[in-house]
Symmetry: C2
Subunit: 380 residues, 2 copies
């Protein structure tokens, strides 16, 4: 059977594990590594699809759990799938709903069969199984789907994690079997195992043997340290096949993106850029900028003097601060636009650095400018 | 002295009082009659300036009262004026702050000198005089400014209104004298007088003798009937000079716009299109559509099948309803875009009807399609 998701390795960086690649989906081909903006409820918050294209986003994320609840996956299917529903003709990836079930929903009960839980919206009792997750994702119609995984806390006990990881692998296998559109959608398996080397490696080996279209690394960016995250990547990515994409889930700070790429990651997503934008926090080439601060009231320079995004080309800190102060949503739109652009553009610079074999120098430059090297630095 | 605001009468419609004209401002020339989107706090809610241009808006409104409070007129002046502050290089008109002082602020006291009131934000005691209003507007830097007026309730007593109208005229004269940038900004006088013919006519005659750049008709769309509004226009506009623009303040329903044009009005503004958009109410060629209604959940047609705006070309009722249901602001952006487009585009059709001398037929068509002729029809 022909895989709808193809990965082509273009080049490895000389001094790190970073790789330049190319992913082909039914909705376009793009170079990796990349950052994927998150459109939780079939909309990347405040953004028009044209604006995401303008900044160079080639694939976005949508959340299975949220869309399953509202408007319902059957309705999205009736609309012709997510691409048509939300007017986005480039790539879409959906998660499995697992992360939300384990972080948002209440009164969960996990069995071999699946997860029962109560909706965070109205308390309605619901059930999600590996088969059901895939069928919902089949209805939603993204290019890339995730298999249902359990996402336990990073510091959960070894015994619990061992059982959980084995179950996640069995669930992944069941998801593969339940897949109804193998010609147009690919499934990624999700490597779990928290901070344990043997569990991560077991998980990776077992999933690789199932031959997924790509591999996600889950259960990170959930409270562990940066060093712990990097360590997990260090002993996990070498076990993943070179001819498949690797996706580090839920990671969206500049330092973690670069450090992930260095360890062989191709894809990242995170709500961070749009979430902090709503509080007026901006990612800039000079570090974190909280534009709501009073000191920017009379600052008629752009959010980031080194940025050429729509917001920075046309508006000042003083104007954006004013909009946020008086609750004008156009202000949030401008900070969201800027933050997404920052990460999407950062990854385009990362790809160039891989081509030029100077990713470590680029890392040093970004870390120095952003202040990641300082103790107590905020990481976004 | 050369007037910065010029009006050229191009053509009168054969069967009504409607007129096709052209207004020249320091920020461009445009045909009238027109509808002006409202950017209360230096932002037309959810809209980018480029989108307003795309739909053909040639001049927008901003509110002196709101901008005086936040971010402050001195800051806007420091930014280089409203045009530069908000990245809008076409026309801007500011009101005088009078309407907001009389509708929003608390504990007002009116004297000949001006109005004392408490800020609706923090209760701070403030004072606005005709001179101060003009100086604030000079700092804001719009092309067209309003002189400070009192905006009393439509059904206020004759005796009170008579004194109020005379005072508004004296205030208008004081505003003219206080004007600091007569070479780059024009002032409109505001005709008041509620529903009384003699007061409206006295107000109009007195203001016309003061030679303003244009004339506003205020104190309407505040609770009176459509018939009363039209009657006021019937006995007021004939007294206004043919070589100056006429602006009906705060009016923004399709029927009132057309009926105002028929009575010789050139300019309109209203927050209605963006305000109702936030509740999912849309103005369409087929009447009022509340897209949040459950019956549109599976409706994969555009908001208005006869509309070619960005929202209608790309999104369905089902998608927009979903976005509103889950509080995604992109949904409000789409309904706002559509409603503004509807009114801006309606006025472009009105101008064509004036050229073609068939405005009454056009009126009948719109009224019939929208349902304005039906009893108990909602007027938007």
């Amino acid at each position: 059977m022909d895989q709808p998701i193809k990965y082509r390795l273009i080049k490895k960086e000389k001094h790190t594990g970073a790789r330049l690649g190319e992913i082909t989906t039914p909705h376009g081909t793009f170079e990796t590594p990349i950052f994927m903006p998150v459109g939780t409820q079939a909309s990347v918050k405040t953004m028009a699809p044209e604006e995401l294209k303008e900044m160079g986003a080639s694939i976005i994320l949508a959340n299975t759990y949220h869309l399953w609840l509202r408007p319902g996956s059957k309705l999205v299917r009736e609309a012709g799938g997510l691409h048509k529903f939300m007017n986005w003709d480039r790539g879409i990836l959906t998660d499995s709903g697992g992360f939300q079930v384990f972080s948002l929903a209440k009164r969960r009960g996990i069995t071999e069969e699946g997860v029962t839980f109560k909706s965070h919206l109205d308390g309605q009792k619901m059930f999600l199984s590996p088969e059901k997750a895939i069928h919902i994702e089949n209805d939603l119609g993204p290019d890339i789907m995730m298999s249902l995984d359990e996402c336990p806390p990073f510091y959960e006990s070894y015994d619990y994690l061992k059982k959980s990881v084995a179950r996640t692998t069995r669930w992944a296998q069941r998801g593969l079997k339940a897949h109804r559109n193998p010609q147009s959608q690919g499934i990624f398996g999700i490597v779990q195992g928290a901070g344990y080397k043997d569990l991560r490696q077991q998980s990776a080996r077992d999933l690789v043997s199932l031959d997924f279209a790509g591999y996600s690394i889950g259960g990170l960016s959930v409270g562990e340290s940066k060093a712990e995250m990097n360590q997990v990547l260090d002993f996990t990515t070498p076990l993943l096949p070179e001819n498949k994409p690797r996706y580090l889930m839920g990671v969206g700070t500049a330092d973690s993106l670069i450090d992930g790429v260095i360890r062989g990651i191709d894809m990242f997503d995170c709500v961070l850029p749009t979430r902090i934008a709503r509080n007026g926090t901006c990612m800039t080439s000079q570090g974190r900028l909280v534009v709501k601060n009073a000191k920017y009231a009379h600052d008629f320079t752009p959010l980031d003097p080194n940025c050429d995004c729509y917001a920075c080309r046309n508006y000042t800190r003083a104007y954006i601060r004013h909009l946020l102060q008086v609750d004008e949503t156009f202000g949030i739109h401008l900070t969201s636009y800027h933050n997404l652009y920052y990460l999407v553009h950062l990854m385009s610079q990362v790809r160039q650095a891989i081509k030029d074999d100077n990713l470590l120098e680029f890392r040093e430059h970004v870390f120095e400018q952003y202040g990641f090297n300082q103790k107590n630095s905020k990481n976004f």
